[in-house]
Symmetry: C2
Subunit: 359 residues, 2 copies
């Protein structure tokens, strides 16, 4: 068994070499840890700041064995970790955080909403859809417009389609490839909010101030934080975070996407069992940011304070927008974070800028 808390100079294993892995590795380094990154790409954004890179597929037994031997705890920059990977890691006896239950729940949208409702957390109405016929029946029951999503995979607006009329439900199902889906009732939301919460190995839970999020084409465009909210909303968000994180016996940082539907009511849209794009503002806005917080949690360290010290507008830099780095670096109130990615495909997340203002 890994002895927690992990002392400095221990190695933190990270599955995934993208920007979240990179920022986790940088945070780990600040605390004196080594990062070991496993991913299919050599010299990935995370691999280029890690003490060690292991190049391999996420379900490559040899690569996973190397990672297990090198690291005292393993974490993930994405939730769609193959089940076979989790089984391998379990067999090697290495500690993982968050645990396999949190990953399994968040990998399947039906499982996730079922867990949430059972834990007393409200979501939009939904129904599992396994066939074109199911789709039509579900659309008739939930009403339209409704959102058809694949149960698994899909992010940033991929793998989902709006159904405007029940008559088009079957075709929509086929357009997603005929895989298992979920139909979600439309949420008449006023705002998209998110809460970044962390739970330590001792069960302590901390929340960051909520962020207000704006998406474009299914991709996060900006977060404004701390969001201006009522005490009722704050209290509701806190209750949700406790129900979710305790319910999953969670260890680490989680992003919880919320719909504010009026009257102080929050619905949970989605769980992300990892550091989250809507928490990037904490790097320049909070006492201890979400990346250090995640490392603290999984290493068994005490959690750090989450108070906001600045008001922040976080803007994602997508595709060629990052080419404006010189102008962005010239903004006195802008704190620029670039991911070192090669190739700025349209819409690809290349970096972000936190524009800071006094609280």
């Amino acid at each position: 068994m890994t002895p927690f808390p992990l002392p400095p100079r221990s190695a933190i294993g990270i599955l995934g070499g993208g920007q979240l892995g990179r920022m986790l590795a940088l945070a780990a380094a600040r605390l004196g840890f080594d990062a070991v990154v496993l991913g299919p790409e050599a010299d990935s954004p995370a691999g280029r700041v890690a003490a060690r890179q292991i190049v391999g597929a996420f379900d490559d037994p040899l690569a996973l064995k190397q990672l297990s031997q090198a690291a005292s705890v393993i974490t993930f920059e994405f939730e769609n970790v193959p089940a076979s990977t989790l089984e391998r890691l379990a067999a090697y006896g290495v500690a993982i955080a968050p645990g396999s239950r949190a990953l399994a729940v968040s990998q399947d949208r039906v499982e996730e909403k079922t867990f949430l409702n059972a834990a007393g957390v409200a979501t939009v109405a939904f129904q599992a859809v396994n066939s074109a016929e199911d789709a039509a029946l579900a659309a008739a029951r939930l009403g339209t417009p409704a959102l058809l999503k694949t149960r698994r995979e899909g992010y940033d607006g991929k793998g989902q389609v709006w159904i405007e009329h029940a008559a088009k439900a079957a075709a929509a199902f086929e357009s997603l490839g005929g895989v298992a889906c979920i139909l979600e009732a439309a949420a008449p939301f006023e705002r998209e909010l998110s809460v970044i919460a962390a739970r330590g190995r001792d069960g302590e839970i901390v929340l960051y101030p909520l962020g207000e999020n704006h998406h474009e084409n299914g991709v996060l465009r900006r977060t404004n934080a701390p969001a201006r909210i009522t005490p009722q909303i704050a209290e509701h968000a806190e209750r949700i975070a406790h129900q979710v994180l305790n319910g999953l016996d969670y260890v680490g940082v989680m992003g919880i996407e919320l719909f504010e539907v009026g009257g102080g009511v929050l619905l949970v849209n989605e769980l992300a069992p990892r550091v989250h794009n809507t928490g990037h503002w904490t790097q320049d806005g909070c006492e201890v940011d979400q990346f250090e917080q995640h490392i603290r949690a999984i290493a068994g360290w005490p959690l750090g304070p989450t108070d906001a010290i600045r008001r922040v507008e976080m803007i994602n830099l997508l595709g060629a927008e990052a080419d404006d780095w010189l102008a962005l670096a010239s903004e006195p109130e802008g704190r620029l974070h670039l991911y070192g990615k090669y190739g700025a495909a349209p819409g690809r997340k290349m970096g972000h800028i936190n524009r800071v203002h006094s609280v």
Copy 2:
């Protein structure tokens, strides 16, 4: 010629694998740069967060050639870069920052004070000492107590000895190995202050608020910043920084150690042509910290704002003090920075903690 400003994904070469190189590499990564670290030790603190490590002596021609080919600009975490190294790098045509003149001046305490005085910046009275006889004559002229230091090398109180009586000057000279020395008159200082300043490739100069420093056994113990100073002191420090950085056509961050001798008078004690231990407080106290600032300067980027957003007490964690990491990580106001070093020899700098308070 290297085209400045360097675009993200360029490689920043760093000579030296210690904690300053490590924090420079982390700052470079945040801006999307790759760090390439050259040092004699594999898996050094800086090497473990760099995109690439080159293991070799600082004057190893092959290692320097590899570094020159890999990096768009080369910088240093220490000032005692061998002259042969600078000649090699010049021959390879790679840009270095700060330049060889700044390094040469700061490597020799007589050269440094001569430069300062010629630039109109006050220092303590001093005299070059090349023999035991010189030492006795200098002590008689400058009075005692006086401080005998080797002209070159030496840091953290090493390579220096106090002369209490002129009669003991010759013996003191021999005790330092008979190498070229400098005798410095005692500074009747009230406080030790330091200014961290940066100069960009366009000649822009910015200063951080001054820090007040406390040493023990010749090693920095703590910095309190922003130091409480009069407008006269602030103005004087600003003038000194401009005279020094412009005088050396400097590019990058420099630490300037100051003696406050009363009546608003500042003497320069020492120049450090690099990021500086007394500037670590900027990581958690200022808009843009000294490490990002140095990367911005040497990459030809616009300099960032240096305003203080918090009051900070920076405490160095020496030797076994870093073993208290769990208690330190539990302090709500403490921001912990550990260097990932193996082996905590007594007095070795293992990390630091920035205790933050409202301005």
